[in-house]
Amino acid sequence: MQGLGILSALVWLPIAGGVAVLALGDRRIAAARWLALIAAIATVALTIPLWIGFDRGTAEFQFVERLPWITAFNSWYHLGVDGISLPLIVLTAVMTVPVIIASWKVIETRPAQYYAAFLIMAGLMIGVFAAIDGLLFYFFWEAMLIPMFLIIGVWGGPRRVYATFKFFLYTFLGSVLMLVALIYLYVQGGDYSLRALHELPLTLVEQRWIFLAFLAAFAVKVPMWPVHTWLPDAHVEAPTGGSVILAAIMLKMGGYGFLRFSLPITPDASRELDWLMIALSLIAVVYISLVALVQTDMKKLIAYSSIAHMGFVTLGAFIAWDIADSTGALRGAAMGLDGAMVQMVSHGLVSGAMFLCVGVMYDRVHSREISAYGGVINTMPKFAGFMVFFSLANAGVPGTSGFVGEFLVIIASFKANFWYAFLVATILILGAAYTLWLVKRVIYGPVANEHVAQMPDLNRQELLVLGSLAVLVLLLGVWPAPLLDVMHSSIHHLVEQMTTSKLPL
């Protein structure tokens, strides 16, 4: 039994920080604000030893902690990381900081509670990625909904009640089915530990039902077409920080779920139903991109763009079997998964930055409508530079992180089927069209109205936030090797797991 360690610190430090911020309250808001920032930065600092100490040569879970939790169900407080969860944990820690800084002066109602909600949510989200016990995972997975529910419900826009309920019911409905599947697996194997679940033999019928139950939970989170309609509403109503975390981290949980649960626990059902996953992924890319093209609300446009980009994640994860069928070898399967992972990390940074950019404009003009802007570059040249940069990253221009994942998935999907690559590569055209058309209408042109004429350029906080994200996006685009190195062993282990049948011969 291993005691508490760095992972627990990562989960509980932000939560403790959040509680402390709550205790300070709105009356000592300056102190609460700084405390929130320190807690968020300390969380990032904690990921550094994790990243450095991580052994890249093994697919085993590392930094493992195991303490008794619900002994009656043989469920443990069991944490650990491998190459798949580590990048997402770091991403979660990193993306919480800009959210705190970006709301420094903007949030006026109950600011302490706002910061606390984000800190607590950060801890819970890290818990989701660090948990390697099924029930513990489920605990974090559901617990995380509560702060997000509050963030949209309390600090959201005019239709926030509709959006929060839609968001909550949608995700909750899927999650409940996942719980049923987890309980079934526990009944079969008597163990919630992830490795035990991975090795549990299951018949094809069992796998099929479990796969579908997981799909209900993960597809909603990703979100995949046709269970995606909660996302645009949630984004539109959420405050900037909520949108950032929603896009940057919460969507990744769906992709993470597929890699961690669906593929290794139900490999045969995944293989049998891969056509469904591929079809839905391709629909996500083409259909959703076309929908993104005609949006008039900036946040909705970026929300739809998120769904399209997440299509690369699900496609990259599920093409292994088609590659084996068409080329007779598995070469390329790991590339698809690598691409899916890089896409998740990159999308976290880029979409987060895009929502922050919209937030910057919203704070000044209080409109999300594209038509309310025009010629912002004239009054906010620095901001325009960042907005154009992140838009190019969103369009997947090489040299930015947005390119890496898309490139790998396109190459890998060509090995599976030319037409997959053909359809998925349309994002090059459509992504450029909807993103840069947005830039054209909002950023370029003559000053459109007096609101735009009075927009002050970025303040120090905004410059810091967007600047650091830009550096990360650039760094990951120019030198993604360190990220791929961390994932390497775990991805290869996953390919082995998903291509090893669980059925009796």
């Binding site: 259909y287 060509f414 055209i429 450029a432 042109g445």
Partner: protein, 662 residues
């Protein structure tokens, strides 16, 4: 060659671009211009040094990586350089033209608020273009490919308050992305059969893949290399503006003139030509793909030339000329005359950059007027510009002894030697193109520099213009004219000195691969007896007479009898309207394709997302629950007799059931 030397060549412009871009306001205009010019100048000197090492000292090609970009699935993707004869030539062309344009920019952008930003962009462009030509792998090639596209996007939209400029830059990027869509599929195809992104692995594998069929659908297959090469060429069609992906190039003239010279004439648009030449070890194994290249190139060469004849914007005429010349280069590629394509690329880079910069000088002299109908007789006021422009024009139409003559004549003869499917069509297209080229080129010269002075009236109309500094046109300052002279020299002589070694002396070494059976250039080589004899022979060949006919027609129509040109235009109004409307490509894009995409998007959004998914399923299920609850509530009336009634009914049913079972 050392890695440090090679890294320095692209990196210096990048560093200068960052300094001018991020600290431009702080260090000021002169320092921004100085640092970028210095960097590009050093980069140019180093490129010439590298070229000397390779061409003169016979250094072996350099092919090595700098750092590992990433490793995935056993594939190591690296950033690295391949510097061979082809690359060295391109490096010199790119850095030399870029250097001239940098100097020219000091004069051209002198009064612009975005002075530092502009220098930052063009230096950044130089970096991206060098990364493209120096790459030794497909990933970096694609990086450079898209990076030059991004800088082009930024530069076309440089004057971002102009609606036409920001329309043009969006269009340029999206159309280029259509090409890149094909390009990335081609790259994916390369990985499909080599499991590597390095050129050398792809080239080594090509012969063994030549016969492999690729299953396109369950029932049809296509030669794998044909599929890959056609996909790669679609990329080239975007970047090198071949029909039907040419539509962005004329509009790109919305950008400042220096970038029209640098990006949209000399360097970026030739990236596609360079790429196909670089990929010759792949293309040579696909006759079908080369025929496709040939036909597309020939169509572009002739039909885009026609458009130059009806346009009145001085820059756009040159832009259509560029389209047409790019078509010529593409034809050469399709005829397996890769070295001729690169040769024409080089001569064209010099004389076309010269023509654009001369046009820019005219535009400055005319106080930012671009309409040739408002010019005329400028030779008197701008002698240096006029002379250098004449030199560029003579090179462009292929006057014997000028650089353009050597490359174009060799090109036409090479196409004549080819027996590939489509070669006959291509031959007549490029031949007819010679006449058209001479016609629009001299129309431009005559309308601009000779004949009646029409600017006096034009200028009155623009009296309120901010740029109106006073009466007559004036010659431009030395920073503008010096680059004109610097470019005029190679425009005249470079062909004479390089045709021998480049085409027939094996100067490209192993960097270009041609099957013996396809080698049309070798066929020309048997008849080549030095540049002098080649030029004298040219005097008796059809292209020369066609060019002469074009010049005379232009003289007659636009100087001697201008009324005749108008009468012809009226007589052939239908033809003219097709040309003025640019064969309706833009109309189709803007009135059919773009609205269709938006319509489908709106249908999917309103119909699919909002009505079906949200309306029927999501809110529908919520409404159903609500409805069921309302109905269900009716049962709970609160009246004793209702409950008693249901109890009796229930009892009766239960009892009945028991009785029947018994």
């Amino acid at each position: 060659m050392t890695p440090k030397l090679l890294i320095a060549i692209p990196l210096l412009p990048l560093i200068a671009a960052l300094i001018a871009g991020l600290a431009g306001r702080r260090i000021g205009r002169a320092a921004s211009a100085g640092v970028t010019i210095l960097a590009v100048g050093v980069s140019c000197a180093l490129s010439i040094y590298v070229a000397k090492l390779i061409f003169v000292d016979g250094a072996p090609p350099w092919d090595d990586s700098v750092y590992t970009w990433l490793v995935t699935d056993g594939i190591r993707i690296q950033v690295g350089f391949l510097v061979d004869r082809l690359t060295a030539l391109m490096m010199v062309v790119v850095t030399f033209v870029s250097f001239c344009v940098h100097v020219y920019t000091i004069g051209y952008m002198r009064e612009d608020d975005g002075f530092q930003r502009f220098f930052s962009y063009i230096s950044l462009f130089t970096f991206a273009m060098l990364m493209l030509v120096m790459s030794n792998n497909f990933m970096q090639l694609f990086f450079g490919w898209e990076a030059v596209g991004v800088v082009s996007y930024l530069l076309i939209g440089f004057w971002y308050t102009r609606p036409t400029a920001i329309h043009a830059n969006l269009k340029a990027f999206v159309v280029n992305r259509v090409g890149d869509f094909g390009f990335v599929l081609g790259i994916a195809g390369v990985v499909w059969f080599t499991n590597s992104l390095d050129y050398k692995d792809a080239f080594a594998m090509a012969p063994s893949v030549a016969g492999v069929q690729f299953p396109l659908t369950p029932t049809t297959t296509v030669s794998a290399l044909t599929l890959i090469c056609v996909c790669l060429f679609v990329g080239a069609m975007g970047k090198s503006a071949q029909v039907p992906l040419h539509v962005w190039l004329p509009d790109s003239m919305e950008g400042p003139t220096p970038i029209s010279a640098l990006i949209h004439a000399a360097t970026m648009v030739t990236a596609g030509i360079f790429m196909v030449a670089r990929m010759s070890p792949l293309f040579e194994f696909s006759e079908a793909a080369l025929s496709f290249v040939l036909v597309i190139g020939a169509t572009t060469a002739l039909f885009m030339g026609f458009l130059g004849v009806v346009n009145n914007d001085i820059k756009r005429v040159i832009a259509y000329s560029t389209l047409s010349q790019l078509g010529y280069m593409t034809v050469a590629l399709g005829a397996s005359a890769y070295s001729v394509a690169i040769f024409h690329l080089m001569t064209h880079a010099f004389f076309k950059a010269l023509l654009f910069l001369a046009a820019g000088s005219v535009i400055i002299g005319m106080h930012h007027e671009q309409d040739m109908r408002k010019m005329g007789g400028l030779a008197k006021y701008m002698p240096i510009t006029a002379i250098t422009c004449w030199i560029g024009a003579l090179a462009l139409i292929g006057t014997p002894f000028f650089s353009g003559f050597y490359s174009k004549d060799a090109l036409i003869e090479a196409v004549g030697e080819s027996h590939r499917w489509g070669a006959t069509y291509a031959y007549y297209c490029v031949l007819a193109g010679v006449f058209v080229t001479a016609l629009y080129t001299f129309r431009l010269l005559f309308m601009t520099f000779h004949g009646n002075e029409r600017f006096a009236t034009a200028h009155d109309a623009h009296a309120h213009d901010d740029h109106a500094h006073g009466g007559v046109p004036h010659e431009s300052p030395w920073v503008v004219t010096a680059p004109l002279v610097a470019l005029a020299i190679p425009s005249v002589v470079i062909g004479y000195f390089t045709i021998g070694p480049l085409l027939f002396g094996g100067a490209f070494g192993n960097s270009i691969f041609v099957h013996e059976a396809n080698d049309v250039v070798a066929g020309l080589g048997h008849e080549f007896h030095g540049p002098l004899a080649f030029a004298l022979h040219g005097l008796t060949a059809p292209p020369f007479w066609l060019a002469l006919a074009g010049v005379l027609s232009a003289w007659y129509l636009y100087l001697k009898r201008p009324q005749l040109a108008e009468r012809l235009a009226e007589r052939f109004a239908a033809v003219r309207s097709v040309l003025v409307n640019k064969y309706y490509f833009d109309w189709v894009n803007e009135n059919l394709i773009a609205p269709l995409a938006r319509l489908i998007g709106r249908l999917l959004w309103k119909g699919g997302d909002q009505m079906l998914i949200d309306g029927a399923f999501v809110n529908g299920s919520a409404k159903f629950v609500g409805w069921a609850a309302v109905k269900g509530r009716r049962i709970q009336t609160g009246y004793l007799y209702t409950y008693a009634f249901w109890m009796v009914i229930g009892l009766a049913v239960l009892l009945g059931w028991f009785l029947i079972r018994a």
